[in-house]
Symmetry: C2
Amino acid sequence: MKVAIYGYGNLGRGVECAIAQNEDMELVGVFTRRPPETVKILTEGVSVYPVEKSVEMKEEIDVMILCGGSATDLPVQTPAMAELFNVVDSFDTHAKIPEHFEAVDQSAKQNGHIAMISVGWDPGMFSLNRLYGGAVLSDGKDYTFWGKGVSQGHSDAIRRVKGVKDGKQYTVPVERALDAVRSGKNPELTTREKHLRECYVVAEEGADLKQIETDIKTMPNYFADYDTTVHFITQQELDEQHSGIPHGGFVIRSGRTGKNLEHQHIIEYSLKLDSNPEFTASVLVAFARAAYRMNQEGMSGCKTVFDVPPAYLSPKTGAELRKELL
Amino acid sequence: MKVAIYGYGNLGRGVECAIAQNEDMELVGVFTRRPPETVKILTEGVSVYPVEKSVEMKEEIDVMILCGGSATDLPVQTPAMAELFNVVDSFDTHAKIPEHFEAVDQSAKQNGHIAMISVGWDPGMFSLNRLYGGAVLSDGKDYTFWGKGVSQGHSDAIRRVKGVKDGKQYTVPVERALDAVRSGKNPELTTREKHLRECYVVAEEGADLKQIETDIKTMPNYFADYDTTVHFITQQELDEQHSGIPHGGFVIRSGRTGKNLEHQHIIEYSLKLDSNPEFTASVLVAFARAAYRMNQEGMSGCKTVFDVPPAYLSPKTGAELRKELL
């Protein structure tokens, strides 16, 4: 399988590493909107091209993995690239998925390609677990918790506060809420009861720390609805102890069975990730394999993780999977 | 969807309850090898038939859910029933799955039916998690732990010991082993390090308790390779405190990503089940829905959980799934 990468940030670099971990795949190019000579990639012997060049390489690429952002890049790039290639993206604006699906489906179908959207862990692996959990335990309730992990959006919000030089925000699931869900009590949980927000802030010299703390804790949408803690630290501490991009979370389905629903069952799926972008990239690469195979079998159109027979994700044959993993 | 049940023990009863929990399904009959008038089912207005009658009801049943045992029932029943119906079974003799697959595939293909085998939680949901985990984190290792739960085979083995009147065995995962796996150490674990065996035994009057304990703990295959504890209790205690059939377990994938594999990720899937047969039944019913749909689309042959696009398991439409769960 010949795979290419469109967009080379943290996610693109993660995809590059993941391709190197899969023997049935070969990286054949990285496409960038920056001047190609300014982009240095990790894989020797592979070229960086300007995005315009992708049209000419239509025949040399089996799947294009799109590594742009959901806000402005993917709504344009995914439908456009699906005209030329099988594509996979990680579009993660949950509310706009139906709209994105329609735009991409049309383009992919007209050109006989598979376009796999919203691949990653949420949307992605977490979505799969919400689906499986609900299909199996139809009388039940599901809960998604995120963290402990870095939220880029909330970290950006902190950095926009007056007097803040730098900062990072961790989303933390509340242990008491997790335990209540695991106990099968099916609690109704408020936003505040589910997650905490922990902020590590580097203040500018002479800044009013009390004011910064208040500005953060009362910020609407981002922090006001949560129990938020603010820790002031030095730039050195931030760089040394908070430079990673860990994340993770939990999907829990709690449900009942039996004649009188007398039996309780708990299904729990959890992720603990050292690197959010690299894990997302690993999911993208597995679904790129599936996209290629589905297209080889004559399928086309927009697909999500819900549409992919799991066997298509693995390099093993059906017989190997049944013997080794079933 | 018109669903029927073949074999009415704990699993068959669980399937009956699960069908009642799913509005798009209707139970149209229970088939038994016992005299039908001796079998009392829970659903009013549904008949119990002798198994021979199934041939005549070919047109009235969309999916037949087979609830026999893996040792002697299913190797015969699944290929035979796949001639007449779309079928789902819970064949769980892992080593014989390839052989079972071949026999069933032939019969299902020749007759244009879908036969979904080895559905449940292991094989089944656990297999899916082994596959997804390995496909996403290709550099890694997976671990399956079972329990805490009742093992029917080990309970039977206890009851065959001289001087034992009744007994029940719990398989218990070792917490220290789970923690080592979760820490990302990728330990090599022996059989003894992974699971404990806890036995609750009712002795016959005047029996040699010391001897019973020794006989159990040294029993090859079943107990000799494990740290086993034996608790002697009264029949009343056994009946009151150990009458349930709970089970569960863990599938953990631990893997690394990054240029130098510097990032660690842990994927953990766990089940805590009050009723092993009822949960298995709930999985069977969800896959019965998929079997029917796949057949409606013209597919046939033997399938496993690996071959089923997850969307087929849910009563929701593709658009609903994308909007609500993705």
